[in-house]
């Protein structure tokens, strides 16, 4: 495992990610941000505040679309999916905290298409930790890091209920 005793500052990474997304919203102001529960929603809300146009933010909870439902069952805390407006024909930026196997992104795409047919979907993540099991790649990424399988990279918000709460990374052995 790389030396990650000092993990990068998630808040700074979000600012960098927002900066890299700025041209997208200048080019196509109708673009919608959709965060994947839970971390992706926090990041999408923060990015929307950082961009001058404050684009609308939606959220998807992929619990009903997981590919491991028959092995793992339903998550006890399914959150409501809220797609804020008609996404049909609009460009969508899907936002997640960590890109790992790609299975969450696959599930999120399936769910998104049940709400309409976006003109394009791009993926923005705070961290790409490698380990892909599906042909999925991030279009925007603030931090690329190669982590072993047993590592658990988690984004937390303190306090968790505060939209302005501090976002930090933690890493432990799963």
């Amino acid at each position: 495992m790389p030396d990650l005793k000092k993990l990068p500052d998630a808040e700074q990474q979000i600012m960098a990610l927002a900066e890299s997304l700025r041209p997208v919203f200048e080019r196509a102001p109708e673009t919608v941000l959709i965060g994947v529960f839970t971390g992706g929603v926090w990041i999408a809300e923060r990015i929307s505040q950082l961009l001058p146009s404050h684009p609308p933010v939606g959220s998807v909870d992929i619990s009903f679309y997981r590919d491991d439902f028959s092995e793992r069952g339903l998550s006890p805390n399914v959150q409501p999916t809220t797609v804020p407006l008609d996404i049909a024909g609009k460009p969508v930026i899907l936002v997640d905290d960590v890109l790992y196997t790609g299975r969450t992104t696959r599930a999120a795409l399936n769910e998104l298409f049940d709400y309409g047919r976006p003109s394009t979907v791009q993926l923005a993540v705070l961290a790409d930790r490698g380990g892909r099991q599906l042909p999925i790649a991030a279009d925007f990424c603030a931090w690329r890091v190669s982590l072993p399988e047993n590592a658990n990279l988690v984004l937390t918000r303190t306090p968790v209920d505060d939209p302005k709460g501090q976002l930090t990374w933690s890493l432990d052995d799963a």
């Binding site: 679309y65 439902f69 069952g73 805390n77 399914v78 049940d114």
Partner: protein, 321 residues
């Protein structure tokens, strides 16, 4: 003794009764129901959770609403639904219940939704599946005799929680034909576990089971005393088709004594909600003016019932609560 609803690890794999479910299990089911509410509001009213699963609706007793809402729930989870009207099928030709079940298992059923006029019929199926080692097939009781109707109990709890927030401190009255009501039993068990302050059953002596106090309820013969300070009033259908003896002089007399009217509901709290499991007999257990008033939440009960049945099916199929 092992609760037949649970597997060896204590997970809920069948739903036979609200009796025996823990507060945590009930709450988990209600929370899961809440997450399914939004699915029915979408243009695309479907999620892929039970894709490829076969759900068999085995209705030995007629019920349009319950069968339809189970069918809708299963379809919104992307399952394939097969409706069997047992009163016109091989049962009528003499096939036993368990032979029917074995035949449907041979067709690779994943879930049975069972309504039967005999109490215990779904238990019999669960015992049979366990004995024959088919632990991956789930059974949901959709109403058995006078015993239990757990998904109705759950959707009633969902409705109460939706309008009242919590069960602590709530006074709940069940009015009318308690004797024949599996809904009443399911509600009482769930309300006890969830911590309602007082549960009253109100009706004529002939329609209240003699041992009902053992369930921890107050018995009231008088409607006004039963309704006093109630937060939730549940009217039950007068099940005249199940009445074999002279339990009741007439529906008109019943209405005169126990029918819910606005006037009588003044004894309850001003913000009390009125529920009914349907189908309702207007002018018998409930006045039309009450049934159509804003305090009646009878149609929301139906809507919540679909989400709760989706929740039950996915929790069972996904390894339990």
């Amino acid at each position: 003794m092992l609760d037949p609803q649970l597997d060896a690890d204590g997970n809920l794999i069948h739903l036979l009764s609200t009796e025996g479910l823990s507060k945590e299990q009930l709450t988990r089911l209600l929370d899961t129901g809440a997450s399914f509410i939004g699915v029915s509001d979408r243009d695309m009213k479907k999620v892929p959770l039970l894709r490829g699963k076969s759900v068999f609706n085995l209705f030995f007793e007629n019920s349009t609403r319950t069968r339809t809402t189970f069918e809708i729930a299963a379809k919104r989870l992307s399952a394939d639904v097969i409706n069997l009207n047992m009163s016109t099928s091989s049962t009528a030709k003499g096939e036993t219940l368990l032979d029917t079940v074995d035949n449907l298992c041979a067709m690779h059923a994943d879930m049975f939704v069972v309504r039967h006029e005999s109490s215990g019929a779904p238990h019999l199926i669960v015992d049979h599946l366990r004995r024959t080692g088919r632990n991956d097939i789930h059974v949901i009781n959709a109403g058995d005799g006078r015993h239990s109707h757990p998904t109705q109990g759950l959707l009633d709890m969902y409705t109460i929680r939706h309008y009242k927030g919590d069960f602590e401190g709530l006074n709940v009255a069940l009015i009318g034909d308690i004797l024949h009501s599996r809904v009443a039993r399911s509600d009482i068990h769930a309300l006890k576990t969830l911590g309602a302050a007082s549960i009253r059953v109100v009706g004529p002596q002939t329609l209240i089971p003699t041992d009902i106090e053992a369930l921890g309820v107050e018995v009231h013969r008088d409607l006004e005393s039963g309704l006093k300070d109630c937060d939730v009033v549940i009217a039950l259908r007068l099940q005249r088709e199940r009445m074999t003896g002279a339990l009741l002089p007439s529906a008109t007399e019943f209405h005169g004594l126990y029918g819910l009217t606005h006037e009588r509901l003044k004894a309850a709290k001003p913000d009390a909600i009125v529920m009914h499991p349907g189908p309702m007999n207007r002018g018998v257990e409930i006045d039309s003016a009450v049934a159509d008033s804003p305090r009646a939440v009878i149609l929301p009960q139906v809507t919540f019932g679909i989400a709760m049945r989706m929740a039950v099916m996915s929790v069972l199929a996904g390894g339990g609560a």
